[in-house]
């Protein structure tokens, strides 16, 4: 369980030394095994929040606890980073080694594992993301989606409990996005990993158990995708794209209130209309 208590993060702008409040009194508890999506416009603080989960950033005020360990506790830094893995946006800028398998081995190597165990973890992790056939390939020869899956394997090889995805699909084509989302969901359902997906794609947020919507460093909405997306006006105000079918449902709901406002799939809409 990750517990975020009244987290505030203030940083100084380099150019003007002006103070910016990136996070403002955020409280959130992430349960084990949960798939949670964090939505928001650029600069809403969602990436800053993500970086607090594995002590890449430390709170200015408030606390972040990973399995009851405070992230500000320097002695536990490496345990926390091993427990909370992180996949970043740009697939190119997070692959370190010249071959796929060496890259996946990077985390375990840093943890000082035995080479035999590393080999085993690397093979397992590559198998899990479906990249085993590419283990001797050079990263720059892979597609965006494949690179991102290698990055995920690199995290899995460290056996984390939580994986934070910081806009992992923002730079990918639709095919790559699908690959990454499928992998993410499989890890959550089959491997029981807790997933935090920072995104601005609605269709990704729909797949989560819970959705957090952020604006100006604050949480403005929190609930199941159904609960959150039915608040069409709020999402529109924040310039987030509401899934078209939900928007249609909201419009119809205003006219004919027998159509529910929280419809999220085309099938549900068909059922509602044909009733």
């Amino acid at each position: 369980m990750i517990r975020i208590n009244h987290l505030t993060h203030i940083y100084q702008k380099e150019s003007t030394s002006q103070e910016v409040k990136a996070l403002d009194d955020v409280s959130l508890t992430i349960q084990d095994g949960e798939h949670i999506a964090v939505l928001g416009h650029n600069g809403c603080g969602k990436s800053t929040l993500a970086k607090h989960l594995n002590a890449l950033l430390l709170p200015t005020e408030g606390t972040v606890e990973v399995d009851a360990v405070d992230t500000a506790n320097e002695a536990d830094l490496w345990t926390i980073r091993q427990t909370v893995g992180m996949v970043f946006q740009n697939p190119d800028n997070q692959l370190i080694a010249t071959t796929v398998e060496e890259d996946v081995a990077f985390g375990p190597e840093n943890m000082g594992m035995d080479p035999v165990l590393i080999r085993q973890r690397v093979d397992e992790a590559l198998e899990l993301v479906g990249m085993a056939a590419f283990k001797n390939k050079e990263p720059h020869l892979l597609s965006g989606g494949q690179k991102q899956r290698v990055a995920i394997a690199g995290i899995i090889a460290m056996r984390p409990k939580y994986i934070v995805f910081d806009e992992p699909t923002a730079m990918l084509d639709p095919q790559g996005r699908r690959e990454v989302m499928e992998t993410m969901q499989r890890l959550n359902r089959e491997e029981g990993l807790t997933i935090v997906n920072i995104t601005h794609f609605m269709e990704e947020a729909v797949l989560a158990d819970r959705v957090v919507v952020m604006e100006h460093g604050r949480i403005v909405a929190l609930g199941t995708p159904r609960e959150v997306f039915s608040q069409v006006d709020l999402l529109k105000r924040m310039q987030l794209d509401v899934p078209p079918i939900t928007e249609l449902a909201a419009l119809l709901h205003k006219e004919k209130n027998y159509i529910a406002a929280d419809i999220m799939t085309i099938e549900e809409m068909v059922n509602a209309l044909c009733r």
Partner: protein, 266 residues
């Protein structure tokens, strides 16, 4: 425009030389260099040449491929030979105004020229039979004992391997920027030298900016994966000496011994 570039000049193969531990190969080359300068007569030099030819043969690298690497240094060799030939004082064999060739000069020139060619050929055999990453690993392990004297062995190796990893990425990016600039009317291959250099500025500025950005993100990604320098770090593929390396070592010792003996004999 920039096409496929290969880093280093590794020639894939499965010869004995390819299978040797990179540390053995690096050390063997150092030993060869030393022997090359111990040797001081023509028989010794012929012997060293024979060893070189043998090594090239064993490596199974096609001779054509091998000579391509040698072409680059032909100018340096000629310059060295000329300098030695004309500048060494001694018995004058031939003279034309201030230029004179001496007996000693000819001997020196032949020696230095041969040494240089042999030196380059043996080192190119190293890079031809060893992948850049294996070379990096080998250097890291060899420098490790010097770490306590402040040699940043791990950091050097990490830098080299990250450079190797990012060269293709940056080449790709250069290509992209060039096309973007060309689409807006920039031209990279017309005009005189100064104009060409000037044309590179709008290419280099965005390239550097993005490289810094990448470095920043990479550092964060590395930290997130528990990177904290070389201490307590293990490797997936630990280097391991085998019987082949022992044999190579023995051969190297024999080579130095033979070199020393050849010196005393003359």
């Amino acid at each position: 425009m920039l096409g496929d570039i290969t880093i280093g000049q590794y020639y894939p193969g499965d010869s004995v030389l390819h299978k040797l531990d990179p540390r053995t190969k690096i050390l063997a080359i150092l030993v060869y260099m030393v022997s090359l300068f111990i040797v001081n007569n023509f028989y010794g030099l012929l012997g060293m040449m024979a060893i070189s030819i043998l090594v090239v043969a064993v490596s199974k690298v096609p001779v054509k491929y091998f000579f391509r690497g040698l072409k680059m240094i032909i100018f340096i060799v000629l310059l060295t030979v000329a300098l030695q030939m004309f500048m060494t004082p001694g018995d004058v064999v031939w003279q034309w105004s201030f230029l004179k060739i001496t007996k000693e000069g000819i001997k020196q020139a032949v020696f230095m020229g041969t040494r240089l060619v042999l030196l380059i050929s043996i080192t190119s055999i190293l890079t031809l039979t060893t992948t850049p990453i294996a070379l990096t690993d080998g250097i890291e392990r060899l420098l490790k004992p010097f770490q306590r004297f402040g040699v940043p062995a791990h950091e050097l190796a990490m830098m080299m391997s990250i450079a190797l990893r990012f060269i293709p990425t940056l080449v790709e990016e250069t290509d992209k920027i060039m096309k973007a600039q060309a689409a807006r009317g920039a031209s990279f291959d017309t005009g005189n030298l100064i104009e060409k250099v000037k044309a590179l500025v709008p290419l280099l500025v965005p390239l550097f900016l993005s490289a810094f950005q990448r470095a920043d993100e990479l550092a964060i990604a590395m930290e997130a994966r528990c990177y904290h320098g070389g201490t307590n770090r293990t490797r997936l593929k630990a280097l391991q000496y085998t019987g082949k390396d022992l044999a190579a070592g023995i051969l190297c010792i024999c080579m130095v011994a033979a070199a020393i003996i050849s010196r005393t004999v003359s």
